[in-house]
Each structure stands twice: as structure tokens, then as C-alpha cells.
Subunit: 182 residues, 3 copies
């Protein structure tokens, strides 16, 4: 059988931003977002915007949040990013309004091609439409789209499309019921 050889890994085609910008953001992210000594949202949102994020009014960013590239992030009005959420946005992440990402949720935009000896990097965007709720310690994989008001239960893994007003659970997450809002 053929074997992988990571010494041949080549992601030079992937240009996520200048090295200076990425290095600066790496340390700002560490000191002001991941570092919970700064619990308020204001400074975090100002720094995210300074680095190109689109952040609407009323957004809440809790302590311990880890964001890879602000310039690949858009967050709508009154959306909450919970404690220790990790937005590993190698590709664009677009979050609608009135969404909630609960504690420890992970949005993963990177993957590897396990069919290639060179284990090539693959990336894909993630979209959360309005009113979506991602439960604590759950994960979204690349190319996931959560349609309006979909819910992913705690500690679950979603891929592909979550339907509108539907509740999903498990790994892989399956639809378990409908969400009716009074």
C-alpha cells in the first residue's frame, strides 16, 4: 500500500494574508481574546474590526474565544460567541444575526485529503444563518451550512446542511426533531 509522506506537504497555494498581519493578529488574539483577563466585549470587537472582521451591533464575545483570521469573519446583530469558542476559520465564516455559539464550540474550516500521499490541505467555508444555536462542545466541519434557526445539540458533529428550524444531535449529527418557536 502507498504511504503518506508529510515532508512533501505543500500548502504554498494557500494565501490567508500577509505574514506580518497574521503574526500581529496571533499575539493580539492571545493577549486580548483567548486571555480571559479581559472579560468585556468592547475591546475585542474593536480589535477584530481593525483586522477586517465585520461585526454588527449588539454582538457579545465571551472570555477565552479563539479566532484564527478576523478578515475571514462576519457576525450579524445580537449574536453571542460563548466562552472558549474556537473559530478556526482558514476559510470564510459567516454568522447571521441572533445566533448563539455555546461554550467550547469549534468551527473547523480546514481538513486534509487522506487519499493523497501528500495529505493536501483542503479548506471550506461555514455559514450560520439567522437564529442558529450551536450547543456546547459541538463541532462544525468545512462546508457546513446551518440554515435559519437550526439547532445542533451539545457535543455533536455537523457536516453538510442542517435544515431550517430543525434540531440535530450526535456524531455524525442527525435530525431528531423540529424547532417550533412560540
Amino acid at each position: 500500500m502507498k504511504q503518506t509522506d508529510l515532508s512533501k506537504y505543500n500548502n504554498s497555494w494557500y494565501k490567508p494574508g500577509s505574514a506580518i498581519k497574521r503574526t500581529l493578529w496571533y499575539f493580539i488574539n492571545l493577549l486580548f481574546l483567548i486571555n480571559p483577563l479581559n472579560p468585556s466585549s468592547g475591546l475585542k470587537k474593536a480589535l477584530l474590526k481593525l483586522f477586517g472582521a465585520k461585526i454588527a451591533s449588539g454582538v457579545v464575545i465571551k472570555p477565552g474565544v479563539n479566532i484564527k483570521y478576523p478578515w475571514k469573519l462576519s457576525i450579524g446583530e445580537h449574536t453571542w460567541i460563548g466562552e472558549n469558542v474556537w473559530i478556526d476559520n482558514l476559510d470564510q465564516v459567516t454568522i447571521g444575526k441572533n445566533c448563539c455559539l455555546s461554550q467550547g464550540a469549534l468551527l473547523l474550516c480546514g481538513n486534509h485529503n487522506f487519499k493523497k500521499k501528500t495529505f493536501d490541505l483542503m479548506i471550506g467555508p461555514i455559514v450560520l444563518e439567522d437564529g442558529v444555536w450551536i450547543g456546547a462542545q459541538s463541532m462544525l466541519t468545512p462546508n457546513t451550512i446551518c440554515k435559519s434557526h437550526a439547532v445542533l445539540s451539545v457535543q455533536s458533529v455537523a457536516s453538510g446542511e442542517l435544515e431550517t428550524y430543525s434540531i440535530y444531535r450526535g456524531n455524525p449529527a442527525v435530525k431528531v426533531k423540529l424547532r417550533k418557536i412560540e
Copy 2:
């Protein structure tokens, strides 16, 4: 379909303690519990008690533990709180004696009503009776009671009641066998 509107979220009914006490604890928790530079249990237990926690003799608190409100926490004799355990006790958490919470376990007392436009906060207590073991990276949701000597396997999610001397696994966790102690 109706839509959520988090600008209308109102948790003013929830009074978890004075703002001064919560702010002080937030930073003490960061500097002395979450911060692993202080590996010993003694100072942590003294601080937890100072803020109202009931901590019996012989309790071990490992590095990286995150506790929301000490005044809503009770821990019995010789119980171990493992590395990076997160007790997010918006409501009362009562842990018996001789329990073990393994690495990265999460006790979650908060939830939201996804049937309401206003996404109302809902809280519920968690009880662990004597001899319970919560496996690494597992999660308990609000209103869970783990009866005497129940075991939740690793990376599992428990809700409701775990029966005495029974072993549970999965998301949602189901009973997989009995626990017999020689």
C-alpha cells in the same frame, strides 16, 4: 416562522450573587484555579471556602479547574476534581464523597429555551451522589442526578437520572452495564 431576537433577551430575574463578589471571584478563579502555575490543592480550597463553597476534608483540586460560583458548590470527602474540569454552576452543584471527575469533564447548569423568541435562560442543579465517576471530556446537562456509584464513560453526555451502580456511555448516554465492586 417566528424568529429569535436576542436583543430582547432578559435574564434580570437571575440573581447569582452581588456584582462585586462575582467580579472578585472571576479574577481569583483565573489567577489561582484555572491558572496551572498553582498546582497544589490547598490554596484553591481555602479560596473556594472563603467564597462560600462547602469543601470536605481530603478533596483534591487539580490544575486548570474552572468554577463559576463557589457559593453554589458542595464537595464531599475525598472527592477528586481532575485537570481542566469545568463546573459551570449557574445553579447548585452537589457532589458526594469519593467521586472522581476526570480530565476536561463539564458540568453545565445553564440552558436556553429554544422555543421562545427571547431564548430565555433556564437553569437546573446537578447532583452526584457518593462514589460517582465522570469520565474524561464528558458532560452533564442541567437537572442531571447521578445516583450512588454511577459511572459515565469518556466523552459522553448525560441528562436526567443515572441509576445506582450503573455504567453509561454515548450521546445521549445509555446504560451499558452494571458496576460491581469487589
Copy 3:
């Protein structure tokens, strides 16, 4: 029914290294590996080797990695240890070449005997043969061996043996398909 009594817990038979060495490593691990202020691999690998780890050429150690005992660790050529990976190696962990451990993976070498009143410590080694990929937030339990080019999907829990060139998913992880490399 009999009850556990953790005051009788006795792991004095377990001798993982001198107290001085373990204490020194505890703080070096905190300051230079777990602490993401040092993003490069070079210093981390030098420190790991100084404490007895076998680290081949081309190994990449990302930020936030947590390693219990370097003297119980061996990593082959061009293997990647991803962000926030936790190698809790109470026993020997042997990782082959061209492996990838993705974000937040946990290698767990410790367990407890839940059939004993004294909740005895049990340990077991973990082996990853060449070309293995452990997905984000997945966990390996003691005595797991991942044979050549096995893949464990995201947020899954593996125990026992993963077969060569096979893909596993779930908790407990089951074989879902074969891995063919072009």
C-alpha cells in the same frame, strides 16, 4: 453494595520519574509548550529532548500542546502534533512517522479500576504506527494501537486496535470505510 473509598487510594507502586524531574518539567511544559506565546517548534523540541523524548527530524509541535512526561514519548519523522493536543502519557506513547494529531486530540494512558473499592490506578501504552491521523477533539484510551495509516474521525473515542488503512468514527469508534491512498 460495597462503596469506593478514595482515602484508601494507593498508587505508590507507580514510579514515573523523580519528583524533581517531574516538577521541573511541569513548569517547563506550562511556560514553553502549553503557553502559546512561543509558537515555534524548535525550542519545544529541544526541551522535550532534554527531558528524554525521542523526537525525529521534521516534527512539528503546534501551540498549546500539553505533554505529561517527555521521557515516555517517541515521535517519528515529519509527524505533526496539532494545537492544544494533550498527550497524557502516564505510560509510553510511541508515534510513528508522517502521523497527524489534529486540534484538541487527547491521548489518555491512565484509567481507574472501577471494580475496586480503592479505585486503583491502571495505565497502558499507546502506539500510533506510520501515517496515522487522529481527528480533532478525538480521544485514544490506554492500550490502544492504531495500525499503519489508520484514521480516527473527529470527536471519536478509540480503544483497542484500529486496523491498517481503515477509517473509524464514533464513541466507541467503529470502522466505517477503507482508506485508499492514490
